[in-house]
Amino acid sequence: MNMTSILKTAVASASLMAASTVLAAPVITMTGTATQQITMSSCKTLKTPMTVTVTFDDDGTYDVVDDNSTNTVLQGTWFKLSGKTATSPYTIYMAASVFAPSPFDPDVHASPNPTIPPPAGTLDDFLDQVEATIENGMTCKLNTKKPPLGSQSIDNLVQPSILVVTNTLKVTTAKDGVTKSGTLTFKTNKGKATHMFTGKSKVGSFSASLTMKGPVVD
């Protein structure tokens, strides 16, 4: 059975499991303080600390949940690249779910004006939250002198322009051979966003990252 078949089986299994209310079991968990960083042209970089729990389940899916708001920040599928021994460092590769409407479905629109909100934790949902943060939580340089006056609004956060460049958890074992700790890194490239900071629509760039360190239980 190749990986595609395995994943398809996993998806089918996940559906069946959901239907029969059998929950996936956690295999690896990590809780710690994460820093979310957002950059946007003409804005001061915003760093937000948050307590986050990452859970890797035996059905091949993972969830990153913000403990303060029980908000699913990101979710997707994972793969563990083991080390040579049980105490060797290992890496978990993660792929955030990407939601996109099908052209073959009726009455569905993609971002920036989706008719169906993307599921919580998908990359699309994450970027929707980034857009809201840029508009409401960042300090940006606005044109306040000459009309047309600027406003802190995003016309279009060009979600397909965002590429995930790093999405891993690297785990090491302490000298006692038992205690494990990890560093989670989620980082995007600089995507495009059209904004109205100067009063006219202008193309800028933005990026988002989430870094976290903490104890790992596997």
């Binding site: 190749n2 990986m3 595609t4 078949s5 395995i6 994943l7 398809k8 997707g76 599928t77 994972w78 793969f79 690249l81 590769y93 993660m94 792929a95 779910s97 990407v98 939601f99 996109a100 409407p101 099908s102 052209p103 073959f104 009726p106 009455d107 569905v108 629109h109 993609a110 971002s111 920036p112 989706p114 990359l123 699309d124 279009n156 060009v158 979600q159 397909p160 322009s161 965002i162 590429l163 995930v164 460049v165 999405n167 495009k192 059209t194 193309v203």
Partner: protein, 208 residues
């Protein structure tokens, strides 16, 4: 059941689904319309798998061509219909779907494309089949049975369609890198790398 048969069956079912009215569909449902389309674009593709000779599908004067079509719909979604080299059946090997967004420029417009998760699984499944067949053409790897592109390790490096306003032509580029499992040395699940680069050129660009 072979993958080809599965795709053929899916295509036949799809054709039936299109031909037969779906009585469950609401009468007032709005289906997306095509907004932009690149038809019969010629694809060149490079698929590199560590330990194997790179698979290249090139445009040649005498060789078979791979024609592909990409349609961008007004609901923000797109469909890329990929055909096998020399395929004239009209049944695509893979349909890649995702969302698109246009960023206008002075001399060219850039259409950024994302690939939804289900499509990525299908695409990599299709590519690792092609990669395995290519690896096995090396007599030393003829017994190879495993080449699995590991979906969570895949990173999209580029996925754009650039429309040159003056020339009225469009060029598509897709680059993906990641890691794979193989049994090149006899034991299963040995790690290696893979990368794919595909370009779409030529064809006809339509704004609908």
């Amino acid at each position: 059941m072979k993958k080809t048969t599965v795709f053929t069956l899916a295509a036949v079912c799809g054709a039936f689904a299109l031909a037969l009215p779906d009585w469950k569909k609401p009468l007032n449902a709005t289906y997306p319309n095509e907004q932009y389309k690149l038809i019969n674009a010629e694809m060149t593709q490079t698929l590199a798998v560590s330990g194997c000779k790179t698979l290249k599908i090139k445009k040649t004067k005498t060789g078979p061509s791979t024609f592909n079509t990409i349609a961008l719909f007004d609901n923000g979604s797109y469909a890329l219909y990929r055909y096998a080299t020399g395929d004239t059946s009209g049944t695509p090997d893979t349909i890649v779907t995702g969302s698109w967004s246009k960023v206008p420029g002075k001399g060219s417009d850039t259409f950024y494309l994302s690939i939804n998760s289900a499509s990525m699984v299908d695409l990599l499944g299709d590519l690792d089949d092609a990669g395995l067949a290519n690896c096995k053409t090396n007599p030393k790897l003829a017994a190879m049975t495993q080449l699995d592109f590991l979906v969570p390790t895949a990173l999209v490096k580029k996925n754009t369609l650039v429309f040159n306003i003056k020339k009225n032509t469009a060029t598509g580029t897709l680059q993906i890198t990641g890691q794979q499992h193989n049994d090149q040395k006899g034991s299963l699940n040995a790690m290696g790398k893979f990368s794919v680069k595909a370009t779409l050129k030529g064809g006809t660009w339509e704004e609908l």
